[in-house]
């Protein structure tokens, strides 16, 4: 029941906002913030109630949905160790996004808020669905609101960016649909659990193709190199709220999908493909960092940094070690927080100066000290300073990758250096040096409402950085089960290989 409320309360809120006679934007936004805040509280309740040691899905909500030939399609929601953190993150992030949108969404506010709420339903559904048809449904639902948010409230090149975003995501979705149909007809079930059981009995020739279909579909969404170019345009053109949701949650649908449908559903195929994906991840880390170094548009720079950070996430999960997977899931949350913060903060600046160009700034530390403090804080979280959240994720990912392949870890570790290069560079060019543009002297520092958004998110970064045991503990059961499955397969492989060698020797 809790999960159903979490998923559909935002949709109810959307209807309310759409139907309310009041034209007062403050009232509409207030309702949106209230609804998302209730969802956030429920998210925290869920987080607290969730038992991390139990690998099974919890809080399951089940009902018959429709019949597809012989196959029973179900309304099936549940949360486990792989999804709990992302569900909580989504719930917790939305009220801040809604509250912060007041600064930059000045027209067609009602529509915007409706799309925002619909999107929350979509995202929640994606993370909570345990039925693949339901998953696909929510996946598509979450696509539409961002299309409008980008297209209507975006910046000057929004139409190009929107089209690109839509085409990319759609091609990914179609590929996924093919894979879903194939898998469902093979398994004769749409339940993820039953499909996983079916897949475990199939030969690699079958699961390999299915894995590839799912993996490419999600890789586009993440995005994994070379599918990343839609991201920079979408991020740059999106309004602040859009960028925050995009970085904070939507991209995680891709990485979550890779983990849930790529690795957990087809572990044998994942083992075969792991080196490729680890390398792609490591390559993405370095490639994204170099892209970021060359940018002069601050939002584009942050977008490129996302490519780099998501490289860590992909690499970590395909290390297929406990440390790697745990770090990877945690890093999904961390990236949502720290990159979300950077977008929020720069959004505040953009509202005042209407420029994304880095050379329009400089010396801001003297003009807007509070902004400078929180920017540096968020930047350090992103850089992976120990004591803040990013470090824990990166460290676990690098350790897990090192256990799987020291060489790939050695490539990836350069990301620690390059990350510092571009983030410190943009920070210096924004905040330090003399004030070059006189109008920057009159900039207003962060307003109370902006502080109310930024401070809790920074606190979350600090909390995860100092006491990561809490969130990491939530995934103990699920990750351990996954690793056991993987270990079983790897050992099976080894013993099979040994048998073959024995036989050959016997001959």
């Amino acid at each position: 029941m809790l999960l159903t409320v979490l998923t559909f309360l935002p949709l109810l809120g959307a209807m309310l906002v759409a139907g309310l006679p009041s034209r007062n934007e403050k009232v509409l936004r207030g309702i949106t913030v209230l609804v998302t805040a209730i969802v956030a509280v429920l998210g925290v309740v869920l987080y607290n109630g969730f038992d991390g040691a139990d690998p099974a899905a919890q809080y399951v909500a089940q009902a018959d949905w429709f019949q597809l030939g012989k196959i029973e399609v179900q309304y099936l929601l549940g949360v486990d160790g792989l999804s709990i953190l992302l569900v909580t993150l989504t719930a917790a992030l939305m009220p801040f996004v809604a509250a912060a949108s007041g600064g930059h969404i000045k027209q067609r506010t009602r529509e915007f808020l409706v799309w925002l709420l619909v999107m929350e339903t979509g995202m929640m559904g994606v993370f909570l669905s345990l039925d693949v048809m339901l998953f696909y449904f929510f996946w598509e639902v979450s696509l539409v609101p961002l299309y409008f948010i980008l297209g209507i409230w975006g910046a000057e090149k929004r139409i190009y960016a929107t089209l690109k975003f839509f085409l990319y995501t759609l091609s990914g979705s179609l590929l996924m649909l093919v894979a879903v149909i194939a898998a469902v007809y093979g398994a004769e079930s749409t339940s993820i659990v039953e499909m996983t059981a079916w897949a475990s009995e199939q030969p690699l020739s079958v699961t390999g193709w299915l894995f590839a279909g799912f993996a490419i579909a999600f890789a586009i969404k993440v995005p994994v190199f070379p599918f990343h170019t839609w991201l920079a345009d979408a991020h740059t053109q999106a309004p602040t709220a859009g960028s925050v949701i995009l970085a904070g949650v939507l991209l995680k649908m891709g990485t979550y999908g890779l983990l849930r449908f790529g690795i957990a559903m087809f572990p044998a195929a994942a083992i075969e493909a792991a080196p490729v994906f680890m390398l792609l991840g490591a390559f993405g880390i370095v490639y994204g960092a170099f892209l970021a170094m060359a940018q002069t548009d601050v939002k584009r720079l942050i977008a490129c940094s996302s490519v780099s950070h998501l490289g860590f996430v992909v690499m970590g999960m395909f290390a297929l070690t406990a440390a790697g997977v745990r770090g990877s899931v945690l890093q999904m949350v961390n990236h949502g927080l720290s990159t979300g913060l950077l977008f929020l903060l720069f959004g505040a600046l953009y509202e005042r100066r209407h420029s994304r160009s880095i050379d329009q700034y400089g010396g801001l530390a003297a003009c807007v000290p509070m902004f400078a403090f929180f920017w540096v804080f968020s930047m350090l979280a992103s850089v992976g300073l120990p004591g803040l959240n990013g470090f824990v994720g990166e460290w676990l990912i690098l350790l897990g990758t090192f256990q799987a392949s020291p060489w790939i870890a050695a490539i990836a570790v350069t990301g620690v250096i390059f990350g510092a290069v571009y983030l410190l560079m943009v920070t210096r060019k924004l905040l330090f040096g003399p004030v070059v543009h006189e109008e920057n002297r009159r900039l207003e520092d962060l307003k109370p409402i902006e502080l109310a958004v930024v401070i809790p998110l920074c606190a979350a970064c600090l909390w995860i950085g100092v006491a990561p045991g809490g969130p990491l503990g939530k995934m103990d059961g699920s990750v351990n089960e996954l690793i056991q499955t993987l270990d079983g397969l790897r050992e099976g492989d080894q013993s099979a290989q040994l048998n073959v060698e024995h036989e050959e020797r016997a001959r």
Binding site: K164, L167, P226, T229, Y287, F290, L291, M293, A294, Q295, T321, A322, A323, R326, G362, G363, A365, A366, P369, M370, L380, L385, P386, G387, F391, V392, W395, L396, L398, L399, F402, Q403, P406, A409, A410, V413, T414, V416, I417, A420, V421, L424, M425, R428, L431, F432, G433, P434, V435, P468, G469, L472, G473, D476, N480, I483
Partner: protein
């Protein structure tokens, strides 16, 4: 002993309080730009926090004198790695970390007192102390952590504070300090990446987690084993981290630039404490290094080369702080040279004496710069001994210790290092020779600096600049440090000298529980020492060259710039190369930084925009073009549709027939 957590926690709390004071000050300044707000309190808060930490450090220090050689706090289960392993952090005070903690809090306290006067009137007064206190907290975490992971927290933390404090005056000099801070952070990060890999390699190779005691034990148990290549590699990677933090070649170029920070910062972070972290790390892991002789050899070579490279660069610097910066790099090189020969005690001895005399010299330089209205160029100083007698007297004490004049602290610690290198014999004689040459250069540049600053004619505009002695809050710390610089050698008198007075080598005995395992592996027992006659000979030789070169350095420069000019004229090429520190920084700019920038632009523009995105857009365009062409087929003419339908049916029929056949 959970009160150990208080040692780093107190400065941390102090930092937060100072930060809040800074925020309140900014608020007050909004109403009235001239207002000071509560910022003046920050100095007291910061000093109080360090002082309290110092008391707790002392308490812990006294707890480990007798049979108990270490005390440890409850661990904080920080990062659960997988089902079984957890990265724990606990505070551990043993003979090594106890001594270091005393240096950090003790010297730190003196520098805080000094800074409370030095920074007076700066608009960022409270912010400065917030950073400085945070630095001390991080440094203490670095030292006191019982595991590599905990040390890494402090390791990166001090790097952050260094970055913030170098860039403290980020709007001065066209933003140069901010650039220098960024450079320091990135250079440190290169080392940190190496540190991380070393840490992971130890984890996977030994499988005992990250605690130092477990790592050392496991490493020692493998001593003499056949294949320890991976452990040696781990030791080398960790040394890479040490190179970054302690500014050794090839990662040395950030430290001279770090002088852009306020002078108390240079004294505390870039001379006395943070830059010695690398030495601390190697001593902490001495059994691991002891079983990797090749790596130790690398360390010795890197140390000796760095010592010489930096000392020669210091010869011709005009910036007072520049001389001290290169001198610091050079002295750190000595410490690594010691570590490379297994002379752990000598390295720590030099860490401690260097903390005294180099902090003293930096603070003295700050006093000079302060009195000279922010002038740092020694060519524009001269004759200051008459104006600043107390600064002058204490500076002389520091200079004497640095140049290794007999009986001062630096003399004994440097001599012990050189004696240990000499003892190794073989190819180590070469490194010993390099060490001796470096010692000669050191004496020369030190006394050149003294002569140019305090002697000779006054080369500044007497009408405009009125040099003045600094207030007591600044000179009293100088005096205390001067006393320590003079007598500090007592803690580690050479064997032969100690015999005369029946005094043991206190530091050696103190540190024995820490270095026992390493010495056992290296020497199968306690570390040997030189024959008495050789030791006397070396002491005499060291005294001789120190006096000779100090004399030469002083007398060629005591009459002003004549000495400089004649040297410039005689060896213009050498002077040019040395003033640019062998051109290393420029080479990095040309060979690494510039190509990387170019590569970034190439990747972003050519590969990403034109290549990948170009291909994507081309697909989009061709789809559009195809659509435009195909449009013709659905033009609404029934006849056309009929024709194409017929054609399609025919093709289909053909295919089906063929497949059926």
């Amino acid at each position: 002993m959970n009160s150990l957590w208080l040692i780093p926690a107190l400065p941390f709390v102090g930092s937060v309080v100072c930060g809040i004071l800074h925020a309140l000050t900014l608020k007050a300044r909004k109403a009235n730009p001239e207002a000071h707000g509560p910022s003046a309190l920050a100095g007291f808060v910061a000093m109080g926090a360090i002082g309290a930490a110092c008391v707790f450090a002392l308490q812990a220090f006294f707890a480990i004198r007798g049979d108990t050689t270490s005390v440890v706090s409850d661990p904080w289960a920080w990062i659960p790695i997988d089902g079984t392993n957890t990265a724990n952090v606990a505070m551990l005070v043993d003979r090594l970390s106890g001594a270091m903690a005393l240096v950090v809090t003790g010297v730190g306290l003196l520098i805080h007192v000094y800074a409370s006067s030095y920074m007076k009137g700066d608009p960022g007064y409270a912010k400065f102390f917030a950073y400085l206190n945070l630095f001390v907290a991080m440094m203490l975490i670095l030292i006191l952590s019982s595991s590599l992971v905990g040390t890494f927290v402090g390791w990166e933390g001090v790097g952050l504070c260094s970055y913030l404090l170098i860039g403290f005056w980020y709007d001065k000099q066209d933003g140069w300090p901010a650039v220098a801070g960024q450079k320091a952070f990135v250079m440190n990060r290169i080392g940190d990446a190496s540190f991380l890999l070393g840490m992971f390699l130890l984890f996977t190779q030994l499988g005992v987690g990250f605690d130092y005691s477990a790592i050392n034990e496991a490493a020692a148990s493998r001593a003499g084993g056949a294949d320890n290549g991976m452990l040696a590699l781990a030791a080398l990677l960790l040394f890479g981290g040490a190179c970054g933090k302690s500014a050794q070649l090839p990662l040395s170029t950030w430290l001279p630039d770090a002088m852009a920070g306020p002078t108390p910062v240079s004294a505390l972070i870039h001379a006395a404490t943070m830059v010695t972290s690398g030495i601390y790390l190697v001593i902490r892991l001495n059994p691991l290094y002891a079983m990797a002789p090749d790596v130790m050899y690398v360390i010795a070579v890197v140390g000796a080369l760095t010592a010489f490279f930096a000392a020669s660069s210091a010869l011709v610097q005009r910036d007072l702080k520049g001389v001290l910066a290169y001198s610091t790099v050079s002295q750190l090189g000595y410490m690594f040279l010691a570590l490379g020969t297994g002379a752990w005690v000598a390295a720590l001895f030099h860490v401690i004496t260097h903390a005294f005399f180099k902090a003293l010299l930096f603070l003295g330089a700050g006093s000079v710069i302060h009195g000279m209205h922010e002038e740092q160029d020694m060519h524009k100083m001269g004759g200051l001994r008459r104006h600043m007698p107390r600064t002058f007297a204490t500076f002389i004490a520091g200079a004497a210790a640095l140049s290794g004049l007999p009986l001062l602290s630096g003399f004994f610690s440097k001599d012990e290092i050189l004696a240990q290198v000499f003892l190794q014999g073989g190819p180590m004689y070469l490194l010993w020779g390099l060490g001796v040459v470096t010692a000669m250069l050191t004496a020369f540049y030190t006394w050149r600096m003294v002569a140019l600053t305090f002697f000779g004619p006054e080369r500044f505009d007497v009408d405009r600049v009125h040099p003045h002695e600094s207030p007591p809050l600044m000179t009293v710390p100088l005096m205390i440090l001067a006393v320590l610089s003079v007598i500090g050698g007592v803690m580690g008198l050479p064997h032969v000298v100690g015999h005369l007075f029946h005094v043991p080598h206190y530091l050696h005995d103190w540190l024995e529980p820490v270095t026992r395992a390493g010495d056992q592996i290296l020497h199968r027992g306690p570390a040997p020492h030189l024959a008495d006659s050789t030791e006397w000979l070396l002491l005499g030789f060291a005294s001789l060259i120190a006096f000779a070169m100090a004399h030469r350095g002083f007398h060629t420069h005591k009459h002003g710039l004549i000495g400089e000019e004649t040297m410039q004229a005689k060896h213009p090429a050498a002077a040019g190369v040395l003033s640019k520190a062998w051109g290393l920084d420029e080479a990095y700019q040309k060979a690494i930084v510039a190509p990387f920038k170019l590569l970034a632009v190439f990747i972003a523009v050519v590969i990403d925009q034109l290549g990948i995105d170009g291909a994507v857009n081309a697909v989009g365009r061709s789809a559009q073009a195809a659509g435009t062409k195909l449009k013709r087929f659905s033009d609404g003419s029934i006849a056309g549709y009929g024709l194409w339908m017929g054609a399609g049916a025919a093709v289909l029929a053909l295919v089906l027939t063929w497949m059926g056949a």
